[in-house]
Symmetry: C2
Subunit: 131 residues, 2 copies
Amino acid sequence: MQNRNSAQRNLILDIMDGNKSHPTADQIYDEARKVDPHISRGTVYRNLNLLVDNGNLLRISVPDGADHFDSTLVQHYHFYCRKCNKVYDVPEFCPSQVIETEKKLGKLGFQSVNHNIVFDGICPDCCKENH
Amino acid sequence: MQNRNSAQRNLILDIMDGNKSHPTADQIYDEARKVDPHISRGTVYRNLNLLVDNGNLLRISVPDGADHFDSTLVQHYHFYCRKCNKVYDVPEFCPSQVIETEKKLGKLGFQSVNHNIVFDGICPDCCKENH
DNA sequence: GTGCCTGCAAAACATTTGCAACGGG
DNA sequence: CCCGTTGCAAATGTTTTGCAGGCAC
């Protein structure tokens, strides 16, 4: 099935392109609404799913209910603040040991193995607020 | 802490103790219901949150809507099957590079830093079903 | 008794889906 | 035209919450 061009999908890609804030579907919806006040939630969710399936976006699952999305496709990791629910990028590091484990899983019969590392804790901003 | 003893909470701990299937709240509710047919969903969710906060259980966030829970507290990782949504334990490995990154985050002002690694792909069972 | 805990039901969220209309190729 | 896509609203799924009564300590 071939995807057609659509103003709504392009708008979502525009919003996500270079966006480092890891927004949730609803935050993307709000942002899109500013440009196209008639775009619907269903369309945003449908397009986010499609873009994740097509490899244009990454879905980040954290324990705050809503999924977050990321347009940075190169290998990198995230930090999730348990207090303000914000998602941060984690400075790059070379996870050769993790890659080894991926290979090991492959040998055990798992296929298309990928991985995600999510650090969590309290972010610097929230730490400051405690004083 | 001021937690009281409660039959419902003990039941949930019983169900989770030694349980390697990483069930969702609803699966735990079904299981609990077999023993105590009057236990309510609210009670299961309330107790799961309490047990996670107290460090008795781990919450695993995967992209299938519902959180999964785990009673194995020693450091280990998970594999999430994108097809059947099951969560598997991953053979242990020593992620010294990940620990290094945790320390680095600490120096950058992040506190109480923890981490989770979730591998994903298709599990051996689901691979077989394709033939 | 005090106040944590429970069951119940309703509410609050997050996400998907059925459908008729729209519009890209 | 075909059929992917949209807006809308309703449905679904997950989790939280308000409240009155119950129970642990």
